[in-house]
């Protein structure tokens, strides 16, 4: 396990965009106090922008981030929903810790894992940091929390059945390649190698000879 200092340094290195610029978006604009800041920012956008609420979230390392701009855009990413309290009933984080091992060196190098809490009131950045540590989360695996309404927006868009919140979303694992707008979903409790393999499906490989037939 890395020391806390090393961990924070490394996190900062893999998330260069986390110094939250005042980039306003429809969903997040209300969190930015000064409208002047909003006017000065870059337009949110990208091949997959329409699929993701660009809300402000807090990471388990205590940094602010735009969900889409900073955590999804330009990346190959697996996204899931969790909460510290529900881990016992839905041991998804435990499963993803094994996926993390299989992703190996790619984690943090273009490939990221994002875990969104469904219980933001309890799961503060500090609680998530402890939780991440407990599960051996490495650089490139980011746990996020935030305003309950923003977390709910993420959950409704990505986790629940078209907004049927009661269906629960702890078994949804979305994965995709943002620059290529390829997105799909699998069962978060699928075998770790199956989830890791899926990340390779959405990678762009132009050389057929590099594959084993």
């Amino acid at each position: 396990m890395k020391s806390r200092r090393q961990f924070l340094t490394a996190s900062a290195a893999v998330l260069p965009a986390l110094a939250l610029s005042a980039c306003a978006s429809t969903g997040a604009g209300k969190l930015i106090a000064a409208s002047a800041e909003s006017q000065s920012c870059k337009k949110p956008g990208g091949p997959s922008a329409k699929y993701f609420p660009n809300v402000v979230v807090m990471t388990h390392t205590g940094r602010k981030a735009w969900f889409y701009d900073d955590l999804i855009k330009g990346k190959l990413v697996g996204i899931n929903f969790m909460s510290v309290k529900s881990e016992e009933q839905f041991p998804v984080t435990q499963n993803l810790a094994k996926v993390q091992e299989l992703v190996g060196d790619k984690l943090g190098q273009g490939t990221f894992m994002v875990s969104i809490t469904t219980d933001p009131e309890h799961d503060t950045p500090a609680v998530l940091e402890e939780f991440a540590k407990k599960h051996g989360a490495k650089d490139g695996w980011i746990f996020v929390t935030g305003k309950p309404s923003d977390m709910q927006a993420l959950y409704h868009k990505l986790g629940a059945h078209g907004g049927h919140a009661e269906a629960g979303g702890h078994h949804v694992w979305r994965y995709g390649n943002e620059p290529y707008a390829r997105w799909a979903a699998a069962h978060a409790m699928a075998k770790p190698h199956q989830l890791a393999q899926r990340l390779s499906w959405v990678e762009v490989n132009k050389d057929p000879n590099s594959k084993k037939a």
Partner: protein
């Protein structure tokens, strides 16, 4: 919705020949709610999806495209087929060989659009060419992946082509796990022999479509579909056939396959698909990939082969006239007898072959085909039905002068059903459709390509009870490889006059519905799937894997089920 009312709904659309015909209003009462599928009002409607742009397109501007018939190649395959990868290859040596190359190209969905749309198709055609296959004539299709590996968009440039409901071995059935990446190919061997060698198991209207794991909805939506029609001495595809055995159904240009897809386009003119796991509804109806087209018809009989290509919309098709459909086939199987129907209800992947006789019309007349089923979200219809004449317009038939005599016929008897032999039943199973944790489930689990959910002894029959445990959505369940007959629907056997008294491969279960199905598993070993054919549900894990194993094989399945398909490296020959 009560179970009874749902059955009534089915009956409404399908009245037996000679029976008096009731209108929708008489049966339902105006505005009567027959379903409880309406979801909370605060959820967005499909039509409000900001990703779907309204281009104010007019109806009936473009002619219905008719896909060309696939032509076999007349040169040897290079590299040659590897017989070791195909079961019973030497018994069913291909008599014809075809090549299809999967590519991206531009397509004009409507002539009023100021741009073309990128689509995926077979041999640069969307939908792909129509295969005319014949019983007793095995064939082979080599499919190459030349899709762009750096494609930007929701689909994955990796394919596996399922020939829907055809009786073929696992390695040629387009299993979700047998994908073919860019620069590779795979050979699909279709034996064109009826299940168990029983002539009563012969089929007629099938289709091929992509089945890539997690990406079926996306890849089919991009265009990867086409028809595969089967003929024999009876259903010979020749209305002038002098053989006394021939049915002489309308043929040639009077036999029209039509695949229905609904699509949305973004502002940039490219196909738009949401990420809603409930399902997806498009803004525009297309038939053979043209938005609300028209077809010129002569005052005579036509055979229309309607197929609901998805992704998630349900149809109840009717004509804005007093014209009826004469249904001759359900899910690609000729019925024992034709059934007269005011409307036909098509769930995703379902097919109905119908005869429509336009002989009562004068040239210049036009008849609109409409969808009477109200559906506002991907999960299933609301249960309400539009009054006749007020449905959503799908296409138009325009009557033009007759060019020759109509020698086609509609026989009183078509194909009898094979006998259900309950003595062969070795196992009964319960299959429950539901959701949990945001994922669609079957028997509480999401799909796992490495797990075998059911082992079935080759040669045995089984009874499957399938139950929809959900409260709000419909699931069109599809079972590969062997067809079923319905023993009971919600505890009651079907009447012989019911159009679902037939062989089938797709059956829709509404909330709380339960069906009991009879299967007989024959001919090949290997693994297939059962899944929801709302392909968005399928992609979100609503699928199970089942395998036919030798009788009394013991617990050594892995050694018996040989993972034959491994994609082969290769590029298409010149000219393709």
């Amino acid at each position: 919705m009560t179970n009874t009312s749902r059955r009534n709904m089915l009956k409404l659309g399908l009245l037996t020949a000679g029976a008096s015909v009731a209108t929708a209003q008489q049966v339902f009462g105006a505005g009567e709610l027959v379903g409880n599928l309406c979801t909370p009002s605060d959820l967005p409607l499909a039509e409000d999806d900001p990703g779907s742009h309204d281009f104010n397109l007019s109806h009936f501007v473009d002619p219905l495209p008719i896909m060309p018939i696939a032509e076999p190649i007349n040169f040897p395959l290079d590299p040659p087929i590897d017989p070791a990868r195909h079961q019973r290859y030497s018994e069913f040596l291909p008599q014809k060989t075809y090549i299809q190359v999967l590519r991206e190209f531009d397509h004009q969905y409507h002539s009023g659009l100021p741009f073309t749309t990128k689509v995926w198709g077979f041999n640069s055609i969307v939908p792909g060419e129509t295969f005319h296959a014949h019983y007793g004539e095995p064939l082979l299709i080599r499919r190459y992946n030349q899709l762009p590996p750096d494609h930007v968009g929701f689909a994955l440039p990796s394919f596996t082509t399922h020939l829907h409901n055809l009786h073929q071995a696992s390695e040629s059935d387009g299993m979700p796990w047998d994908w073919v990446d860019n620069g590779y190919f795979w050979d699909y061997h279709h034996v064109n022999a009826p299940a168990g060698g029983d002539p009563l198991e012969k089929q007629t209207t099938q289709w091929y479509h992509d089945h890539r794991m997690d990406f079926t909805a996306t890849n089919v939506y991009m265009g990867l579909t086409g028809f595969y029609l089967l003929f024999d001495k009876k259903d010979s595809g020749n209305e002038n056939d002098p053989s006394p055995d021939a049915f002489r159904l309308p043929s040639g240009k009077y036999d029209v396959p039509m695949i229905l897809h609904d699509i949305s386009l973004g502002e940039d003119g490219q196909l738009y698909l949401s990420q809603d796991t409930n399902g997806f509804l498009g803004r525009y109806y297309t038939v053979n990939r043209k938005i609300t087209p028209f077809l010129e018809v002569e005052p005579r009989k036509y055979r229309f082969r309607f197929l609901n290509g998805g992704p998630s919309r349900f149809y109840e098709l009717g004509l804005r006239s007093d014209q009826f459909f004469t249904v001759i086939a359900n899910d690609g199987n000729l019925l024992p007898k034709p059934v007269s129907a005011e409307t036909i209800k098509l769930s995703v992947a379902q097919r109905f072959d119908v005869i429509v006789d336009f002989s009562q019309y004068q040239p210049g007349a036009s008849i609109v085909l409409e969808n009477l089923m109200e559906q506002i979200r991907g999960e299933g219809p609301t249960g309400r039905k539009f009054p006749k004449g007020e449905g959503e317009q799908v296409m138009e038939f325009r009557v033009v002068p007759l060019t020759g005599p109509d020698n086609s016929r509609v026989p009183d008897k078509l194909r009898a059903l094979p006998k259900i032999d309950l003595n062969k039943v070795k196992k009964e199973r319960l299959v429950k459709l539901d959701y949990f944790g945001g994922i669609w489930t079957i028997n509480g689990k999401g799909f796992d390509m490495d797990r075998i959910d059911m082992e079935i002894e080759q040669g045995s029959a089984e009874i499957w009870t399938i139950r929809n445990g959900g409260t709000r959505w419909e699931h069109p369940v599809h079972i590969h490889f062997e067809e079923f007959q319905i023993l009971e629907f919600n505890g009651k056997p079907l009447k012989k006059s019911d159009v679902d008294h037939s062989r089938k491969d797709v059956l829709t279960l509404g909330p709380g519905d339960e069906v009991k199905l009879f299967f007989h598993f024959r001919d090949f070993l290997g693994c297939h799937v059962m899944h929801c054919h709302n392909v968005v549900h399928e992609d979100h894990t609503m699928m199970v894997r089942w395998c036919i194993v030798p009788p009394k094989h013991g617990p050594v399945l892995g050694a018996i089920i040989d993972p034959r398909p491994v994609m082969r490296l290769g590029t298409p020959p010149a000219g393709f």
